[in-house]
């Protein structure tokens, strides 16, 4: 590997600007559907994520200082004034599980100076810990703020012996100074893909799920392969008429053009968060229709 070789193969080394549909023909495109109506805010997904991905528990002080490492967080929102008027404010809360949206045109990818975060052919927004230098530009440019930085050297402190025995051996323990985020449990995906490859097939729907989807007691989180039109997730995306690489969505355009909504359009409740930024996220949320008083 000489300098000449490097310059001769320049075009291969160029980092491509992430675009939706960049890997259109790839066999996998991992995606999610989260039904906010089913979410009870029980935090089981968060706990499962901590256990699966070796997330350090930072403690109350650091949590309050905004240094928590929860890749998946349950956000609570209250209606206008509910927080103050209700005796038990949590009763009026509405929940939204938020994790890395695995954007197709991710804002974090183009700004990373060292290419530590980049797009995989599976449609994941991967993070290479060994390459990360901790400039935190990706987090600064993430509209969802779902990237978490290792402010301390957690492997030293977070798991006092013998707690380190419970760490997931398939997942790297991240050291001080690197950025991390939800990976859609990439270790599970890799394992499933390897298994499928040895058997000469593609991964079947439901063969692999993320830890959060597995732990959700109300099945609010659906995970699957969007490239497989028969998968649950792909069918849900289709039912909600959400297109991965489209903005604006044709259903919205249609709604604007044709004015009053037809009966069918009213039942469509799939949306992607901050879609207007054209990040093309891979997570569809289903709007909540249950009123908070019910």
């Amino acid at each position: 590997m000489s300098f000449d070789n490097l310059t001769a193969n320049w075009s291969k080394l160029r980092v491509k600007r992430p675009q939706p549909d960049m890997y259109k023909d790839a066999p996998y495109k991992w995606a999610m559907v989260i039904d906010l109506d089913a979410c009870t805010g029980c935090n089981a997904c968060t706990t499962a994520c901590y256990a699966e991905n070796n997330l350090p528990v930072v403690g109350k002080d650091r949590f309050l200082a905004g240094q928590a490492m929860h890749w998946l967080r349950i956000e609570r929102y209250w209606g206008e004034g509910t927080e103050h008027t209700q005796e038990f404010p949590e009763q009026g809360a509405q929940f939204l599980p938020m994790m890395c949206q695995q954007c197709e045109a991710a804002p974090c990818e183009i700004v990373c100076p060292v290419g530590a975060t980049h797009h995989t052919p599976d449609g994941l927004n991967s993070q290479v810990y060994n390459r990360c230098i901790g400039s935190r530009y990706c987090s600064a440019n993430c509209p969802y703020k779902v990237r978490y930085f290792n402010w301390y050297n957690y492997p030293e402190t977070a798991w006092a012996s013998p707690l380190e025995q419970q760490l997931n051996p398939d997942v790297t323990v991240r050291s001080k100074g690197v950025m991390e985020k939800c990976t859609f449990c990439v270790q599970r995906l890799t394992e499933a893909k390897n298994k499928a490859r040895t058997e000469g097939r593609t991964v079947r729907d439901g063969e692999v799920v993320t830890a959060c989807a597995q732990a959700c007691p109300t099945s609010a989180i659906h995970f699957g392969n969007l490239a497989d039109p028969t998968s649950t997730v792909a069918r849900m995306w289709m039912a909600q008429q959400v297109e991965l690489a489209a903005h604006p969505q044709s259903k919205d355009e249609q709604r604007e053009k044709e004015g009053p909504l037809d009966e069918n359009a009213e039942t469509l409740r799939g949306y992607r968060i901050l879609e207007e930024l054209r990040t093309f996220p891979s997570v569809v949320y289903l709007e909540r229709i249950r009123s908070s008083e019910a």
Binding site: M1, F3, L6, N9, L13, R14, V15, R17, R62, A65, G66, Q67, A68, E75, Y77, L96, M98, P107, I110, V111, C112, P113, V114, G115, R131, C132, I133, G134, S135, R136, Y137, S139, A140, N141, P143, Y144, K145, R147, Y148, F149, N150, W151, Y152, N153, K176, G177, V178, M179, I273, L274, L277
Partner: protein, 479 residues
């Protein structure tokens, strides 16, 4: 050398209005040498006060940095979403400071503004040291600083290149080339003066200056080559200076965050850079003038010109600042508009208004001649202007983090803690320490250019003296 007849010749010219002179045209060459070389020996005691004060600040900053390095960036109270904090704000501030040195030494050199001659050397040194300080902030800010070289495009066996679409890579390249060029420019312009030092120095200092003056003999051929090379580097430096801060601006303009995603950022940053740089030059001008007894060279008329320049740039900055507000206010991006409203009314409202008042209203004091020529007043005003420009950078960074796109991450009342403040104070100490050391070791007033300036002041008088008779005569009657 002094010519007592000059005064009478001037009086002979009827339309001559005596103006305060930039520099006394009667200074002898040897006197210039002596005065400047004395600055390398015995400055006023204030020098040591400033030097040791800044050394103390620097050591405090080093302590904070060691603590942060060993424990992790978390001790600086950075958090999600405030991932950058004051480090990047102060980084921009120092990059900005570096611009006016180039303005004085290169741009005004090309424009033949000769009042810059006594002051451009230290301004150029300011450029170099503030760039070095800015570079330090990049390192302080990185999570894994020991791998900072990943951003540099170097041939690697693993076929890994930096991500060329990232503005941080542009930054690293631009700052690297600007720093290299300005160090060369600073050193190169100093060679004739170092030769003077070499001729006057003894002992180990003589060895040092001999090595530094690279065999300068002052021959015609050397001067001719020197002039051409100096001009060439000056021409090279100007686009670099403009590009470096434009590129720092793209760190923000390229990102999509509300309040940052503005196309007017590059000129806005360059204007802000020149502005804070000019204000810093005024501050250092006053300090150097006193500590090194440069009253004869750094004269009040030069200070006045500097103030006028600062005022002009401050108005450019104000204009671009208002443009930014207007383009956000009348734009379609409701998030950016909200972020602007948040700046003006949210947690940081006091700072935001302080920035606007210090940056756009305080410079109007520079329109009064009594202010421009009043040294204590100018010291205060220049420090206030720089404070305003530092706040400007703070106001670019923090409100956007506090009030981004996603409401869940809106957070009120984030303030930097003692580690961040300590490192920032340490950076000021580091800069001042290096700058003061520079002025003690190298001639901070360009001797050969001051001589040129004095020479050019004399020349017109000689011209007048030769033609004194026709000017004094009455016009012949046309009839």
């Amino acid at each position: 050398m002094s010519n007592p007849h000059d005064e009478t010749e001037i009086a002979a010219e009827p339309r001559f209005v005596p103006k305060p002179k930039d520099i006394d045209s009667d200074i002898a060459w040897a006197e210039i040498n002596g005065d400047v070389l004395r600055s390398l020996e015995r400055p006023r005691p204030l020098f040591w006060v400033i030097f040791f004060g800044s050394l103390g600040l620097f050591l405090w900053g080093v302590y904070c940095e060691i603590y942060q390095y060993n424990t992790g960036l978390g001790v600086a109270d950075l958090e999600n979403p405030h991932v950058w904090g004051l480090y990047i704000a102060t980084f921009i501030f120092w990059i900005g400071m570096s611009h006016s040195g180039t303005l004085l030494s290169a741009i005004l050199h090309l424009m033949h503004a000769d009042w810059r001659k006594p002051i451009y050397r230290f301004a150029e040194a300011m450029t170099t040291f503030s760039l070095m300080t800015a570079g330090l902030f990049v390192l302080v800010h990185l999570g894994r600083v020991w791998q900072f070289y990943y951003v540099v495009a170097y041939p690697s066996e693993r076929w890994t290149w930096p991500n060329f679409s990232s503005p941080l890579v542009w930054d690293a390249t631009a700052i690297g080339s600007y720093l290299t060029t300005s160090v060369i420019f600073l050193y190169f312009g100093m060679i004739p003066d170092l030769a003077i030092c070499r001729d006057k120095a003894t002992g180990i200092r003589r060895l040092f200056y001999r090595a530094m003056s690279v065999g300068w003999m002052g021959t015609d051929r050397q001067w001719a080559n020197f002039r051409i090379t100096y001009l060439t580097i000056a021409c090279l430096l100007i686009p670099l200076a403009v590009s470096v801060h434009s590129i720092v601006a793209t760190d923000f303009a390229v990102s999509q965050q509300p309040g940052w995603h503005t196309t007017s950022f590059p000129p806005y940053f360059v204007a802000g850079a020149l502005y804070s740089g000019c204000a810093a030059i005024i501050t250092l001008f006053i300090i150097l003038r006193y500590t090194f007894r440069f009253e004869q060279y750094m004269t009040i008329p030069i200070l006045e010109k500097l103030c006028k320049l600062t005022f002009a740039i401050s108005m450019v900055w104000t204009y671009l600042n208002l443009i930014e507000y207007a383009s956000v206010w009348y734009g379609t991006d409701s998030f950016a508009k909200q972020a602007l409203i948040y700046r003006a009314t949210g947690t940081y409202a006091g700072w935001w208004w302080a920035m606007n008042i210090l940056g756009s209203i305080v410079p109007f004091t520079l329109t009064f001649k009594a202010m421009r020529t009043n040294i204590p007043a100018m010291m205060i005003v220049s420090l206030l202007l720089n404070l305003g420009m530092w706040i400007e950078r703070f106001m670019i960074i923090s409100p956007t983090f506090a009030h981004g796109y996603y409401p869940w991450t809106w957070i009120d009342g984030w303030w930097p803690n003692w580690v961040q403040v300590g490192i920032i104070l340490g950076s000021f100490g580091w800069f001042t320490m290096l700058f003061m050391l520079f002025c003690k070791i190298f001639p901070s007033v360009s001797m050969y250019e001051v001589k040129e300036m004095v020479y050019h002041r004399r020349a017109p008088k000689k011209h007048r003296a030769a033609h004194a008779q026709p000017v004094g005569q009455a016009q012949p009657d046309p009839s």
